[in-house]
């Protein structure tokens, strides 16, 4: 495998990172909305969030990518492949992050809400001054874990012809007929990004449980 092939793989890696960033950042923005809707006491906010989470957790990411890639043009949105894939990943991430953060919000001890209520704090202040900062900390390990899943999940974009790292691997492998070498290199590239993230997630989790038990 020469320099040219390696460069091609690195370009694929670049796209993998861009897709991950799109999905993750979009997922953060809309995930916050989903999580807040999910814990709302108003049914007309809560039920759409429950449906959204159920839809994306209950179907394969692959299918979600297909629907976005072929469905958006059918709806009259003539978007490039990266936008369709980014759209699908954002929707996917918003559901998963929303559910992670829903759990974190509800994991903040009830006494915190009661103290905020007893002090007369209103819903907005109670949520953003008291609950969310604590929920954010609680959710960090799971959020980092999902980031790793998402990064690996972007490999599915290959199926709609998008040339990210996995697809670049297929192409190079077909050119030089050394699948083991090529996919070995591809695997190492995924690994050197995902592994430190996983370690970081585990570190956060350890630090958190140490904090809880004093």
């Amino acid at each position: 495998m020469g320099m040219q092939e390696l460069t091609y793989l690195l370009q694929g890696l670049g796209w993998t990172l861009i897709l991950t960033a799109m999905g993750f950042l979009g997922g953060i923005v809309f995930g916050v909305v989903v999580a807040l809707m999910r814990v709302s006491s108003r049914p007309w906010l809560r039920y759409p969030a429950i449906a959204w989470i159920g839809l994306f957790q209950g179907t394969p990411l692959l299918m979600q990518l297909f629907v976005a890639y072929f469905g958006l043009p059918l709806l009259g949105f003539d978007v490039p492949a990266w936008a369709a894939v980014g759209f699908a990943l954002t929707a996917h991430a918003s559901a998963f992050l929303g559910e992670i953060w829903r759990g974190a919000i509800q994991a903040v001890p009830k006494g915190q809400t009661e103290a905020a209520n007893a002090l007369g704090l209103h819903a907005r202040s109670r949520m953003f001054d008291v609950i969310v900062p604590q929920a954010f900390k609680l959710s960090l390990p799971a959020t980092v874990g999902f980031l790793v899943q998402l990064l690996k999940g972007t490999s599915l974009a290959a199926i709609v012809g998008f040339i990210e790292l996995a697809r670049a691997g297929v192409i190079v492998s077909n050119q030089i007929y050394k699948p083991l070498v090529v996919f070995g290199v591809v695997g190492v590239m995924y690994f050197v990004i995902c592994w430190p993230l996983s370690l970081y997630g585990r570190y956060l989790e350890r630090r958190m449980s140490a904090g809880v038990s004093k």
């Binding site: 009661e114 103290a115 209520n117 007893a118 002090l119 007369g120 704090l121 209103h122 202040s125 008291v130």
Partner: protein, 253 residues
């Protein structure tokens, strides 16, 4: 109901209050009037409804029937009434419930700034005054986890006082504390009582009850069973349930 001890105007009035948790009848036609400046100690076996009772006063629990009036504000489900009542009533919890991600000072200024719309400087000045008063002023920049249980509970008292409440509710404030820290919290509460604060305390600290209570109220099975001045209550409990209860807790002290 007759009140002989204090001549103040009614601060908290509960009339025929009924509270259910599903099939469980937690409060049975509770009548209670607390006058301005009065100190009430509420005791009784666990599950008797004493915590539920004070949690109804600031609407942490909703009631199914009856009426609660706090400082002239009749409590109902409207946010406005609830806000008005919570502005007048401070609460201290068994588990402190300080905000762990905020420093002691930040814990104390949050509600005054958000609810009473004080400037940061005013809120801090008030907070430092009350933190000094509970003798914890030098810990203002620490986080709750860096303090002992007794110190945390004193911060919780200061945090409630920062809203300048007219009455304070204490829900077993010393039950979660190590024995050596109980006194510092009780001393703070005694100081507050001396300054004329209206207080309802759910507690089993009978020494505290003797020292500051105007009335001791004994509850069992969701009802107020006996109500008396501390001397009479401890020396000559009228009701069989109160005698049994006193026998239990005094045997352990």
């Amino acid at each position: 109901m007759e009140q002989s001890q204090q001549g103040g105007a009614p601060m908290i009035e509960m009339r025929k209050v009924e509270k259910w948790y599903g099939d469980f009848h937690a409060l049975k036609s509770v009548d209670l009037t607390v006058r301005k400046g009065e100190k009430i100690v509420l005791c009784g076996p666990s599950g008797s409804g004493k915590s539920t009772l004070i949690r109804c006063i600031n609407h942490l629990e909703t009631i199914q029937d009856g009426e609660i009036v706090v400082s002239g504000h009749r409590l109902n489900d409207s946010q406005k009434a609830v806000d008005a009542v919570r502005r007048e009533v401070g609460m201290v919890f068994q588990q402190f419930n300080l905000f762990p991600h905020k420093t002691v000072l930040e814990n104390c200024i949050l509600a005054p700034m958000r609810v009473r719309k004080l400037s940061r400087a005013d809120a801090e000045a008030t907070a430092r005054r009350y933190l000094d008063r509970v003798r914890i002023g030098n810990q203002a920049d620490k986080y709750p986890a860096q303090l002992s249980g007794g110190q945390q509970q004193r911060v919780a008292i200061a945090r409630a006082l920062c809203m300048e409440p007219k009455a304070m509710l204490f829900d077993e404030p010393t039950s979660a504390l190590d024995p050596e820290m109980v006194k510092e919290v009780l001393d703070t509460m005694i100081g507050l009582a001396r300054d004329g604060m209206t207080m309802i305390c759910v507690t089993h600290e009978m020494g505290f009850a003797r020292q500051v209570a105007d009335r001791v109220i004994f509850m069992a099975d969701g009802e107020i069973v006996e109500e008396n001045d501390p001397d009479t209550f401890f020396r000559n409990p009228q009701h069989e349930r109160s005698r049994a209860f006193l026998g239990e807790i005094l045997a352990h002290h």
